[in-house]
Amino acid sequence: MSKENILGIPIQEYKGAKSTLCAGCGHDSITDKIIKACFNNGIKPNMVAKMSGIGCSSKTPAYFLSQSHGFNSVHGRMPSVSTGAALANRKLTILGVSGDGDTASIGIGQFVHCVRRNAPMVYIIENNGVYGLTKGQFSATADEGSKSKRGIPNEISPIDLSSLAIQLGCGFVGKSFSGAPKQLTPLIQAALSYQGTAVIDVISPCVTFNNHEGSTKSYNYVKEHDIELQDLDYIPSYTPIEEIEIPQGESTDVELHDGSKIRLTATKDDYDVHNKNEAIAAINNSMQKGEHLTGLLYLDNLKKTLYEDLNLCQTPLAHLEEERIRPAETKLKEIMSRYK
């Protein structure tokens, strides 16, 4: 018998179509973690909406959660489509997958404003520093000096999406690596339990165009320069079937909106996950050293979401019946009388 989660749903039902990405692509590892995270959290697949833009990363929603609606939209515009879908049905879990080209270049405006609004969604950036589908041009997250496959260094300074998100007021900012399953799975699980926009910037090496010597986003480089801020564990709100291993060392539990907790066991002394300035300084320092600082970088679990800002009713707007959305004829008459 296959493994089932709290809802009695086997993990197979969280899977999707076969990936058509290159063998060994970092994105496929992330897909695998998304499947695990949704399975572990006991999310009903039909209550997830998988959203994406255009690019290799944006193809991945077809490879997980086949029982969820998916929308492969327009390049760089996933945030706006997601915002609309989230507002039409607030009961949905919006799971957006984007890439570095999709988010940091063509879609940077939508990324910025989506974060500003705190639209309820998980926003995963599968970040490899290159445009894969168009054969290896640098993207806006390529580090200065990082070399292309032909050996040409990138001369322009990169956009770091995690520090940008923190500056914009994002309440949940994580950074991770597709080759760090122990960190990435609980990070996605926590993001799924977070109420507002949860941004996870995941370095995901492109095995075809950006996995060579001289690249700062190759598998080997990231493996060697990945500095993990904490050990992360996700503790669900329900009693888990399997016992959770409690890690050694000093740990802090932070409660998320649905009652679950993220347990942070610091590997770096005195890092305050609720301190914006500290987070930005730590990211800057690590970038200067050529390192990738990963983990839960910033968390504000009290931030108001777009639903609260708009004072939206609990019933999804999509489900409102006619009598609640078409006012009576008397109301029309009353309004018209003002124009007479």
């Binding site: 039909n46 515009r77 006012p327």
Partner: protein, 591 residues
Amino acid sequence: MKKTINNVMVSVATVNGSGSQSANLIIHRSLFRMGLPVSGKNLFPSNIAGLPTWFLIRVTEEGYNAPADEINISILMNAETWDDDLDKLKKGSVVICNSDLGKKVERDDLIVYEVPCSSIARKVDTKLAKLITNTVYVGVLAEVIGLEEEAIVDALSHQFNRKQKAIDLNLKAIGEGRKYIQENYKKDQPWKVERRDLTKNKMIIEGNQAGALGSVFGGVTFLSWYPITPSSSLAENLISYLKETREYVDGVKTYAVVQAEDELAAAGMVFGAGWAGSRSMTTTSGAGISLMTEFIGLGYYAEIPGVFWNIQRVGPSTGLPTRTQQSDINFCYKLGHGDSTHPVLLPATPSECFEFGWKSFDITERFQTPVFVLSDLDLGMNPWIVDDFKYPDKPLDRGKILKKEDLEKLESWGRYRDVDGDGIGYRTLPGTDHKNASYFTRGSGHDENAAYTEDNEAYARNMKRLAKKHEGLRSKLPQPIIEHSTNSEIGLVSFGTVHASMQETIDLLEKEKIKVDYLRIKSLPLSSKVHDFIKKHKKSFVIEQNRDAQMFNLIKEESTAENIKKLCSYAYSDGMPLSASKITKNIKENL
């Protein structure tokens, strides 16, 4: 002196931002209160304050809406345009001017009333003088043409929402204007107004207010928008109607409004919300549609509902953004890359803005495709006199949606299967509690079951089905209407606000013993009735307000060779509503 009763064209030249709009609306509403059909056109610059602005008021018992070619009474409150405004006047016209501006009327063939409006206003209230300088000319005009005091009081009460202090102050300024004429001028002038009973139970409303109201009664649940003249007032009116009609006591809302960062995002949100089952819309103008093109192109192929209001104006960007035009007909109808056309509704009056406001949601959800409502600045932002709007005569049509219960009865389903033979597939909404509910939405690379494919035949089949679906719109959209029928051999065809000039055109032609039939188009794709009308007539003129004869060419594109020979075009645009006399002249020359 021979009097002309209830047939006058007044122009008021003021400075933008000087508060003249409220004075002009008081005149407009006073005439309305006297039972007179009156049109008002605000010609304003793209500016917050300081540039010249004009307000045109026309009274006719026939209810002609477009401005007349000749101005009978010119009110000069702006020194900058003074000389030009005077040059436009014919011999014998009337001038009312603010003599405090330090300018003189150097023509002796006009009937001139020089009034120190600024000094009179200061005398009434030193502190608020600037605000009421314009109100003084209301009094002067009232005295000169015969506006009834009772109608003015009514109009003031409406304008200032029954705030007695403001009403009294303005009434005093009006009284002083009247008094100045009584004491200083014995002479009379020919244009007079008299009470009639032609506006009973009617409303004064702007197209954007009507469109917003229609959207409310269409059950809109989602609006995303980006501010752009002349569409912003539709969004703003909608927001206030929604606040009034769709909130609970504690402010909990049954709708969401997002002011987007740009039109790209506004369109993206509309489709996200429409896809997830919301009645969603946006409102913009041509420049905004340019940015929305990417999404609307996808909306056609991904088959997602969404209502797009385009309040057309002259463009692009720094064109004449505050002037009116019917210039996005072709653009909106064929928007997007690849083969695509879109349903376009063409309201001609505020009543149709209301009607299409609610109907557009039924159409977009029934046909699962983006719908345009093409209004324009003249319709959207000027005051129009109309009858009561008709409450929707049928329940909401949410289109073909499979729910959990439906899926339980089906062995399988496919999002893009043509089950009913009308080219329209069934959709499910995200969140539907059934294992088979989900499907994947993308552009054109999918098969009947929404599975990804690059198979050429599957692509071609899908394109054929889409064409069938859009063909079906021809008979299901608001159908053309024969507005005037005399069994003539000459046909006139128009749409949108050009309609406002058509009754006058017909009357002018009849004065010259030329009888015509007139058909008004209400939507695209064209109904076969348009082609039938052209076939029935020896010659048909397509009259529109743009340079390139966009509607004429759309008709021609799908006409028979025989019908093409019968088609004539009158296309003209200078940013102003079309003049009936110009239309008439063109028709006469080309008969």
